[in-house]
Symmetry: C2
Subunit: 392 residues, 2 copies
């Protein structure tokens, strides 16, 4: 159902543009704009749950009343922890976009990603806004090149642009995402923009439900960003109103696809690890336990070393504040039982984990129906190198 | 007040012995025994809060009724997650020690540390028990060599033996400890044995209070072991009953000294990081926030890189489930303010963190009296190497 051909401009009536404003020292593109041509402008957004949140999150959350016409996104600077100046800068960015496009500033969502604690170079950023607002009015709607350019301009230490698309019967839903570190979203994640030409009166329930089973199940490093934002815009340009089930499936498919792309490009990743916990009283319990295992440095180092270390697995889940039956815990790696009823299974130390994908299944032994999957990565030398060698 | 000359045998009336039973593949010493000669045998112990706990923890906790005569400790094998066989092996170990020393098995505390999930080589272990029980009856009480031998025999990836001592007026309290990884104790830690010739009717309150402000404030890697045990034995051999304040100070001093030694020898450590959080409503809130920062991989990588990255600091503490005033958070590194009221201070990126010790002070801005310090380390290449290159 999902093809990665185009992203945020795949749906009818969405334009995008990108430029190099000069915010990144690298000289790579760092400013992107996505504009909804209508006829409808329904939108939904979810944000970081971090108590320390960035100025663009404050601005966009404050204007999140069910409609957005455009999203402006910069990389290279998070505009977080910049006090009143940061808030003024986010407002000025939205105002400049709004003025150029002839829409209220409150209809412009603002997203930023990059280093925390440096104020935005507003001269460069506003010159960039002039460029992208001009360009977006000249580019064709649904341009794949423009969608890719936008997805590229929001990258920081991402190594690939992340796009996904779902084609319904006569309608489309597409999106783009960025995010490689500080990645343990809490019902929101990183920067994600989804667009659809379907008619959706209220996209919020679909976005919330999908975010919970996709982005919220990624836990790369236990760190939740100050800037996480996911926005879905719907314009009804296809004239089609998909049924509830299809809409949910479409939003799920694109969110899941983007989430898997984020996991695969996480900082320093050498292994993609899917942790499924079962046998808890509730799904929420299972997610808590899976997340605790996904954050455990010793477990993650073992994954890096292709070491089927079920002892560290049990020690980690044993600290989860959920009901379990400790002497009935069982663990499988890649489908092979390594621990049954909290004791080692024959051959447990010889399971082959040398591949890039590792499936971990942990049953906490209560006999309850709870289950959840969290996607994480290993803890590698490159992760340490990337995150110690320079500020980011 | 604290000298590291001798440890667990510093107090009058305590003997120790150690041997190489052959549990460790390395051929290093791996079995230690500490025996209290009396006349009194009061004792206290605290244990891991992990729901997955080892057989020796189950055995020792089950017999933790206020007295112990001896502690037998092996390294090289945690005897964790070995089911009923593990429980039988812990019982058999205590029984063998008890028989040789002429004391009930229930008066023998059992501690194990090492790899999780392999059953103990009981033939080797019981032969080792015969050796150490024989030796301990020939060695002099208060032998510094015997104390060091015991502290050495409980090491796993520890690079140095950890001992501490407090000399009161006519009485002494000493101890030994081991622990380098899987180190985020919860009111208990690793393996620690404290001995004193003071008269203490009920050592439990002193041990609990000290553990809470010492071992429980270490958080190296967020992982809580299945085997953490701290035991304090008092024999009254000095005939002295120190006052409440001095006893508390002595237990505190030795626990704190050992805790700092554990931090300094943590796996892969290149920086010792003390995180103090203030300005919370309660001390408990401050500890929660300090612990969350101490577990944050991005923050720890920044410390490894000597990077005064206060942005990651704010992002990490912002996820603490405690009351804070986000725009009044302030941060200092090594006494230099780098962030004031959630915005960068002049020169913040230039603070020198190249030394081995880094002090981090975070004020969460509520104006409340809460404060706590947690000791952690950086996240280094060596940490990843040590924990991925082989099972441990």
């Amino acid at each position: 159902m999902t093809e990665n051909t185009t992203g945020v401009t795949a749906a009818a009536g969405f334009r995008a543009a990108a430029t190099t404003a000069g915010i990144k020292p690298s000289g790579n593109p760092d400013l992107a704009l996505v504009v909804n041509e209508g006829p409808e402008f329904t939108a939904a957004a979810v944000f970081t749950r971090n108590q320390v949140f960035a100025a663009p999150v404050k601005y966009t959350r404050g204007n999140n009343d069910g409609t957005f016409h455009a999203v402006i996104l910069n990389s290279g600077n998070a505009n977080a922890c910049n006090g009143v100046q940061g808030e003024k800068d986010a407002e000025a960015t939205a105002a400049a976009v709004g003025e150029a496009l002839g829409i209220p500033a409150t209809e412009v969502a603002v997203c930023s990603t990059g280093l925390i604690g440096d104020t935005l170079p507003m001269d460069k950023l506003l010159a960039g806004v002039a460029t992208v607002t001009d360009e977006v009015q000249q580019v064709a709607a649904s341009s794949p090149e423009a969608g890719l350019a936008a997805a590229t301009a929001i990258m920081t230490t991402d190594t690939v642009a992340k796009q996904a698309v779902y084609h319904g019967e006569g309608w489309t839903l597409g999106g783009m995402a960025k995010g490689v570190g500080m990645m343990a979203p809490s019902l929101a994640t990183m920067l994600v923009v989804l667009t659809t030409d379907a008619r959706i009166d209220d996209p919020a329930p679909y976005l919330k439900a999908s975010a919970e089973v996709s982005f919220d199940c990624i836990d790369i490093d236990g760190s939740t960003s100050t800037n996480d934002t996911v926005i879905l815009m719907a314009n009804g340009a296809s004239g089609i109103s998909p049924c509830d089930e299809e809409l949910a499936a479409a939003v799920n498919a694109v969110c899941m696809d983007l989430a898997k792309q984020l996991q695969a490009d996480a900082e320093g990743v050498t292994k993609r690890v899917a942790i499924t916990v079962t046998g808890t009283e509730t799904d929420a319990d299972a997610k808590v336990a899976a997340r605790i295992l996904g954050r455990d440095s010793l477990f993650k180092c073992a994954m890096f070393g292709s070491d089927p270390n079920w002892g560290r697995t049990l020690a980690a889940v044993g600290m989860a504040p959920v009901t379990m039956v400790a002497d009935r815990i069982s663990v499988s790696f890649n489908g092979q039982p390594v621990c049954v009823n909290a004791t080692g299974a024959p051959g447990a130390r010889d399971v082959d984990l040398s591949g890039e994908d590792i499936d971990v299944l942990v049953d906490l032994g209560t006999g309850g129906p709870g289950t959840a999957t969290v996607w994480t990565t290993d803890l590698s030398h490159d992760y340490v190198h990337i995150n110690s060698a320079y500020s980011s």
